[in-house]
Amino acid sequence: MEASPTRRRPRSQSPDAEAAHGALDYLYPELLNEILSRLPLRDAVRTSALARAWRHRWESVPSLRFIWTGRADPGAISDVLRRYSCPVREFRHYYVTEASFGHSDRWLRLLALRVVQSLFLDFKRSDDDELLHTLHPSIFSCRGLTTLYLGGCYIPAPPPGFTGLPNLTELRLRKVGFTEGARVLELLIATSPLLESLRLEYLSLPLSNGVYNQWIIRAPKLQSLTIDAIFDDEWQINDLPSLEEADIDCVGYSPDRDIVKLMTELAHATKLKLSMPVKVADPCAFNYYLHTPALEVLDFELDENYSEDDEVDCDFLNALWTDDDDLFSNLIRVGVTYTTCKLSEMLFIEFLLSEARRLQELHVCLDSFCAKSNEAAATELAKYRRASPRAKVFFSRND
């Protein structure tokens, strides 16, 4: 169907008036806003140079996204935030340098006023990765936040009367410290009742008398938990009934901790990735994933230093062999990375293959220190009986 271009204007206007402005001026304001809200901020701001009628138009265009890089003039950012009159849907600054630290306090005050929904702030650290900046407490007044990412800064104590971030669903903290200790982190998590996704990466928590204080992650709606840490800073999990996925990478996880408790707290997850000193065949941990029917994806990164008790673990596994429970019933994918083909690890794999009826993929990655050759390991794996006809074994080596 061909359409002939029409010369008709959306609203009847005198020809003079049309000559004075662009036709765009005659659209309903909400349509103009819909058009302008699709522009990057700088393009939207440029429209204020078009004509006098356009001077302040961008200031009331909803849903503009504020996205800045390290080169952005910090004063200009404050200025734009001051002029903009709508709620801020998204504010991102990928690299706040030292020259902007002071300005960032002003941004946060304005962002709290503009009910910012999604906030991403990454601060420059010192050359040796030390944190330099302490965030302005206005962050605790940003009650409209649904998504928050903070990187490279200290988070201060919340002001008295802080009651939480009622709409926060996603929280990611990377290389963040807490001047007042982990209790602030604990409070921040516990007072965000809608939190669904939590990522904590390389936090720096203060030691008291040389040890970390225990702190607890309590989040009834949490679906996804990621912890990346080098040291075990004594996090605890307490009651995560909605958990679907957990990815815990903590090489310094203390072997003295109660692994059964941790596993029990993670029991709701269907996807679990553990890169910590937990043995595949740890009798206590094993009991957990044997009896977690929901588990579909299980990934281990093993710690080669953790080799004592191999015989005990083998005895434990051998004793299980006669058990005719319905084990590993939902497992679809299992990964065992950095194995050195210890007897207990191979027994675990054999046991797993012989039990997991729905298994589709088993990924085995040999550690570079593994004495066994690839061929020998692969031959051994091929001999194991597979309960699942669809199970495929993928084999690699970390060299």
Binding site: R8, R38, R42, R46, L50
Partner: protein, 174 residues
């Protein structure tokens, strides 16, 4: 320029409705296509628009309406599929190709279209045109935007204001 008519009115054939533009042109179109308009949907569900009645659309002219219906006819099958979650990649690519082509038109038509889409509440069409107009503005200097949007050449006074603004918001022009 009416929408294609199906020969047989009954017997399992798609139900047709008639829309009447502001300049009194009658368009017969499948009810499913016209129902992309939230505004028309209720009337059509109530059985309106059939037979000799027709639904008058006093603020949409025939040129615009024919264009609007071209969009609706193309998008009706996917919309009937509830946003077409099962649509194949080929179907989606074809719709995308159609959309790109569709908005490759004179600006004044774009503005008439977005107004009609707004009045008739056809969300997909409204955002398609909004995106197109935004793309026309993106990355341009104020002078280029003025030309693109058909503003007359600026008076010296306006030019001076424009320059002052560009100085004030230097970061937006880097």
């Amino acid at each position: 320029m009416a929408a294609p008519e199906s020969g047989d009115g009954n017997n399992g054939a798609a139900r047709m409705v008639t829309l009447i533009s502001s300049d009194n042109t009658r368009f017969e179109v499948e009810a499913a296509a016209a129902s992309l308009s939230q505004t028309l949907q209720l009337t059509i569900l109530d059985g309106g628009g059939g037979g000799g009645d027709g639904i008058p659309l006093p603020n949409v002219d025939s040129a615009t309406l024919s264009k609007v219906l071209e969009y609706c006819i193309k998008h009706a099958p996917a919309a009937a599929n509830g946003g077409a979650p099962n649509a194949t990649a080929v179907d989606r690519a074809e719709l995308e190709r159609f959309d790109n082509e569709f908005v490759n038109i004179d600006q004044s038509v774009l503005y008439s279209l977005i107004m009609a889409a707004h009045n008739l509440e056809i969300e997909g069409l409204q955002s398609l045109v909004a995106k197109k107009v935004a793309d026309m503005i993106k990355g341009k200097s104020p002078m280029e935007i003025r030309r693109t949007l058909g503003f007359p050449d600026p008076t010296p006074e306006e030019q001076a204001e424009m320059n002052a603004h560009m100085l004030e918001y230097g970061w937006a022009y880097e």
